[in-house]
């Protein structure tokens, strides 16, 4: 009996030690950031060149009440009321948003892209259902946030945030309303103090514009995003950075600016990008007519090609004629020797893949259930922007430049893919087994390479001291598709070049947008 008791004791103690010693909680890289304290408040950002708005004051924002008014004093009392009994959760909410609101909304967007990046499961008859924005809650959920869809969502939302913040900065300078903590010493600044005027609240502008944009891109999430908006706006108030009227004016401005982008989005051609059976068949027959082996889906059952008409979507940085001009010449002929050589090259890479090559493939795979390659470049950019202590408006400007580049790179890339409709390596040699999933669209040119070439180019302009690093990353992302068995070398090399060409358009814009 004594023995039994000894054992049970030993067992319990050992288990307890293991249990206590092993806290497995994970914190994300941006979970515990300090509050953003911009080096430069970019006071004159109200004069920066907008993307869709014709003027920063396209949407009127009424003059705020005087800080001596009874209405304003009541608003200060609201802040004091919160600050008197701030809960831990409320303090956490302040900490979370104060790290950078453009950053946080970008992270939320990346989360949604990953959540919705799932290809629909087939119907019983072997066809595939197509997500419908008219019925977004039915399976398959709308949207399927694949790379082109994601690239476009990142671009529209970043661009709308940028225009909205330019307008916000314009009114901030115009009305120059002091911050609550400056007006009343009884209000505590729970975020770094700034000389930037508080009306309209940039937090609320961002919350309003982003929440509104979700009506177009993630309609299932409107409700959830509304809760985030409320959390964000309340954190701005509780932190002492904004009053209720700053927030109300900001949200309204943000939502109005979003409407312009939504209107553009409804007419940019993306809605028709899925195509239909006639379009899909024509791609095959025209490729055969050219004497080339057409792409076919390597999925079973065969899935229609991903967004074949995405290449006709209207870009942000140039017109549709430029899309054709940026489209590269043809890939090696599927019946030629060069293609044979390139296919063998792919086979040799995957025959006995090294651990390092597999690591690279998986690092850059960004496939199903992830935030996609454009999202990966957003993550890379965001982590570097954090270190730069950009103002919110500069954060928005830089992400808009990046994301417009990524979307337009996607358009040129998709235009090229469906212009040539080129087979994947595995189609030409079924012995090529891949280290990650083969995306369901033609090979030439590599999407990863095009996205990465564009991203590295514009990021190298924004943060010149990192330009070489970005190029090395783009090179690795591109080669990951070759060594993973997904792409021929031509797809990768040409993709990088085309991407860089797109990125240069963003640089040209950045040079004259007034932010330098």
């Amino acid at each position: 009996m004594k023995k039994i008791i000894t054992f049970i004791t030993i067992t319990i103690i050992t288990s307890a030690i293991i249990f206590i010693a092993c806290n497995k909680n994970i914190s994300g890289r941006t979970d515990n950031l300090p509050a953003l304290n911009p080096q430069n408040i970019d006071l004159n950002a109200g004069s920066w060149k907008t993307i869709l708005l014709s003027r920063p004051d396209t949407f009127a924002v009424a003059a705020p009440a005087a800080v001596t008014s009874t209405a304003y004093i009541a608003e200060l009392n609201e802040i004091k009321g919160y600050q008197k009994n701030l809960t831990d959760a409320q303090q956490q909410s302040i900490n979370y948003w104060s790290a950078g609101a453009v950053l946080r909304w970008n992270e939320i967007l990346r989360d949604l892209v990953a959540k919705y990046n799932l290809p629909p499961y087939q119907n019983a008859d072997g066809t595939y259902p197509i997500p419908s924005s008219a019925n977004p809650f039915a399976y398959p959920l709308f949207p399927f946030a694949n790379p082109p869809y994601a690239a476009r969502a990142y671009a529209y939302i970043s661009a709308a945030q940028y225009d909205a913040l330019v307008a916000c900065w314009y009114y901030k300078k115009l009305y120059n309303r002091s911050q609550p903590y400056t007006v009343d010493a009884g209000v505590v600044a729970k975020v770094p103090q700034t000389t930037l005027a508080s009306y309209p609240s940039e937090a609320a502008v961002l919350a309003g514009v982003t929440a509104e944009m979700m009506k177009l891109f993630f309609p299932d999430e409107i409700g959830n995003l509304q809760l985030k908006l409320q959390d964000h706006e309340l954190s701005a108030i509780m932190s002492g950075a904004a009053t209720r009227s700053d927030v109300v004016a900001g949200e309204a401005l943000g939502r109005q600016v979003a409407q312009q982008f939504i209107a553009r989005g409804r007419a940019d051609g993306a809605g028709a990008a899925v195509g239909n059976q006639t379009v899909w068949t024509a791609l095959e027959t025209t490729t055969i007519a050219r004497g080339e082996t057409p792409w076919y889906s390597l999925e079973t059952p065969k899935r229609p090609p991903m967004l074949p008409l995405f290449g006709k979507v209207i870009p942000f940085l140039f017109d549709t004629a430029t899309v054709s001009a940026l489209r590269p010449g043809p890939p090696p002929s599927t019946s030629g020797d060069q293609m044979k050589t390139e296919t063998n090259e792919v086979y040799n890479y995957i025959k006995n893949p090294s651990r390092e090559n597999t690591r690279i493939v998986h690092f850059w795979a960004d496939g199903v259930g992830t935030y996609t390659p454009p999202g990966h470049w957003n993550a890379i950019a965001a982590e570097d922007f954090i270190k730069k202590n950009f103002s919110e408006v500069r954060w928005a400007r830089d992400l808009a430049l990046l994301n417009m580049s990524l979307m337009d790179a996607g358009i040129v890339c998709w235009n090229t893919k469906y212009f040539y409709f080129n087979a994947r390596p595995t189609q030409l040699n079924p012995a090529i087994k891949t280290l990650t999933g083969i995306p369901n669209f033609p090979a030439y040119i590599s999407g990863h390479s095009t996205f990465s070439g564009a991203a590295a180019t514009i990021l190298g302009y924004i943060i010149p001291e990192r330009a070489n690093d970005y190029n090395a990353m783009a090179q690795e992302a591109s080669m990951s598709r070759l060594v993973g068995g997904i792409h021929y070398k031509s797809d990768c090399n040409v993709g990088l070049t085309v991407g860089a060409n797109v990125g240069n358009y963003a640089i040209n814009r950045a040079k004259v947008d007034g932010a330098n």
Binding site: I26, Y121, L298, H362, G369, A379, I438
Partner: protein, 313 residues
Amino acid sequence: MHTTYKLIRLIIISAIVLNIANKSWAQTDQDAIMMSKNNFCSGLMYGHSSWNNYWEGTFKRDNQNLGTVSTSMISVMGNYGINRRLNIIFGLPWVQTKATAGTLHGMKGIQDLSMWVKWMPIEKNFKKGIISLYVLGGASLPTSNYVADFLPLSIGLHSKTISGRIILDYQLGSFFATGSATYNYRSNVTIDRTSYYTTTLILSNEVQMPDVMNENFRIGYRSSYLIAEAVVSNMTTLTGFDIRKNDMPFLSNKMEATTAGVNFKYTLKKISGLAITGGANYTVAGRNVGQATNLNIGAFYVMDFSPKKKDKK
């Protein structure tokens, strides 16, 4: 009784190859059998596991882009008797995976080294039989930098584990019943990507691994030369999330599997110390795992390192 244990110098091994579930190869750590003092049993086992259907959450499906997913395994195992109440067990498998359809590349490599200390503190006559209790502590460690984040084709989960197990056995004549329960602590795993989605986007390359509970119940015939048993096992992760419709499986999914099967071990009469083992089991229920059929066969040899028997060789 004493002689029974002396005679039974064996290892029963049956692979629970759930493929996308926790892999536990050796089952000497599962049975109610001890090696005698200074005896060392070692052997090789071949295991094969395959499935066509799997569960995405509770939704059971096939996948024509995977076809049949199979895992082959060759494992070296050993069991040393420090004395008849205290044994040390180890196992090290080499694993290869492949899918018969689709384009995904199979993987192969040396997987995790597992070690167990097995202690039998209690062995008592009870009614007309013998009741015994075993307490085991185990640990496993990946022995190579294999890829974990490529389910269902990765060869393992690359977690370090620490396990505690209690086995209760009752033997009545040649018949026995054994029940066991295990808690597996699993360390977090580092993957090759910098973010991943569970039920939310996580900006880290570290994956929080759910701990696992295993229980099994076995009943059968146990004599000097033949052991035959029927086994029902259950494995359940304590936390984790479901695979979403048409998503890829992930390391920290909620995984559950219930298997039913049989094992045998036959000790050759002509060649002293040589035993052949075999087993088969089938996954009758599961969640976020493949509905695997597992087969294994092995050969084990017992060497006696007792000083007094040295001259025998």
